[in-house]
Amino acid sequence: MTVLLLLIPAALAIGGLGLAAFFWALRNGQFEDPDGNAARILIEDDE
């Protein structure tokens, strides 16, 4: 059972990391322009 003491915090930490990344994306405008981001991939940056 002692393995749980390691695994549960590890699982929570990894999940929490994902959650934190999502919050970071939300705060930094990654969801501001979904249509534009979809279209931007088609722009060639030949500069």
Binding site: A11, L19, F31, D33, A39, R40, I43
Partner: protein
Amino acid sequence: MTALLKVAPALERTVLAVPSIHCAGCMSKIERGLGARLGIASARVNLSARSVTVEHDSSLDAHDLVHALAELGYEAQARRDELAPRLSAARPLLAPLAVAGFAAMNVMLLSVSVWSGAGGSTRDLFHWISAAIAVPAIGYAGQPFFRSAWKAVRHGSTNMDVPISLGVLIATGLSLYETVRHGEHAWFDGALMLLTFLLIGRVLDAMMRDRARAGVDALLSQAAQGAMVVGANGGLTWIEASKLMPGLIMRVAAGERLAADGEIVAGASRFDQSLLTGESAPIPLHTGDPALAGTLNLEAPVDVRVSHAGHDTTLAEIARLMEASTQSRSRYVRIADRAARLYAPAVHSLAALTVVGWLIAGASLYQALVTGVAVLIITCPCALGLAVPVAQVVASGALMRAGIMVKDGSALERLAGVDRALLDKTGTLTLGRPLPDPAALLALAPDEAAVAIALASHSRHPLSRALGAALAKWNLAAAPLKDVSESAGEGVFARWQGLEVSLSRPQGGGATMAAALRIQGRPVRLIPFSDRLRPDCTAALTQLDRLGVECSILSGDRPAAVGEIALQTGLTAQANARPAEKQALVARLRASGRKVLVVGDGLNDGPALAAADASMAPGSASDVGLQAADLVFVQDSLIALPRAVRAARRTMVVVRQNFALAIGYNLLAVPLAMAGLVTPLVAAVAMSASSLIVVANSLRLASAAK
């Protein structure tokens, strides 16, 4: 402030609305074109909001940027502060959904081990970890529900959020109590799963609503944002629209929109009033004629004396009419909320009955309360919360693939009940653009057609563009021309192989639209233009009739033009209707108990579109038409109308089935809960199963638009 900026040129940020951005090509063209200019540090396009954010130094102002964009080929307006984009409805729900989903999955993992037999101190530990995750998560992710429920309760009413909030809060409280007492059952997983499912439903619903933006914003941005004003000494100064005063004289160049109503004092030109009246043909106006704000000057510069500005213009009047009708429509109560009005009291009295019943039967207060709470949890309207949004999202996805965009979640509900349709003429029943007569084009010799296409390419006049587009399909090489000149209001003149050629206004100029192709030494070719009915018009009207929707025409155009279309379609018609009259007719029909669908495209249809039970606009409609309408169809064919009505009716059938399924689930589960037989495991299984059934039933709508 300005003095300070001159000392140290700091960067300023300006947001411009550019409605015509639609693809990656436009984005890179604008970003590179602007970025290469002096004084502009960076430009970033937002395609979703159709806007450009420009960082520039203080030597430039919004007017310069609009000019820069015009040179790149895009019509733009500086966005006013009061028109700042509304906050998205889905955005604030994303973070609660992420938290609820994360917490639900982790707590579920711990619960599975409890269900599969973990006991003693391990179970206690897992319950404590669950509580540590669940309590803050519920406190955060449940806020949208708690707030809405509290608002309803404070006003003495109830909505779907009241049973949800009560169920979640009581389940959490009871679970905490159980955890402290080393009890067997904790309901953290159920409460979190409920929040997750419901938030998914809310996010889907909000994403649909986000697509629907208020029409009034677009309407106001259609007005030019200022004008060149002729000063006393003949000099020109740029004055913002809000500072224009009656009596000032504006000089309006060709291609500009008027910033205020006024009277022409010098010059003559043709004006595109389609935004205001729906009349597709440009109107010639001369000195002394009144000109309206929002109309587009097509040909020559004119001087206009301002008579009304800002809030007194015809354009602002239409905006006010629309705002008023939008408010009247928002009183529509959605089917989910109607269901909640019956559901919430029923559930709460059942739970109360259970507690009382168990007390009478001799159970302890604790046991009676636990059973009552189980009833509340099991009846939490998980499937009910998904019944409507999932069906609507699947149906609108199917419609979108068929070229019909649903902008508002409740639009399908309202469209399903429609039994009367009012159709605009120009741009709705017809294509709304002049097309050259195919017989006249076929009569042209190949070299004549080559000259025609070359001449047409030198003009931006609507007839030239239509002719060019029609001839482009023939794959002809344009004839080489020399000495090309365009004379505003007359036509295009040039030399071809030493001969004088021209594409111009025919002499006499009767009521019909036409262009004359003259080639020296040959007979004049007259090409008539006319607006045509949309394809499948008759079939669409027959199908609407079969669906029990009575149609008629409601147009702002001249009686003669409307009569012709009425004859071709066999519909009754009303002509010369002004925006307020259209809106009044819709109100009259609704007062007499009809459910009215308005199909229209122009700014003049805006108030009627906003006032109707449901509204549709073709993709070619003005911004205002597009924004005011609930549904937008992008293809030319009018068959989209009966198709949308059929899909809406099928959606409502499925929504009712979903309600029946959700209630059927409750009929099974509630007696079990009242008997005290429901454990957290049973609740979790029942909740997921009923949600899955509802989602699966809704997925049948994937073919709704066939």
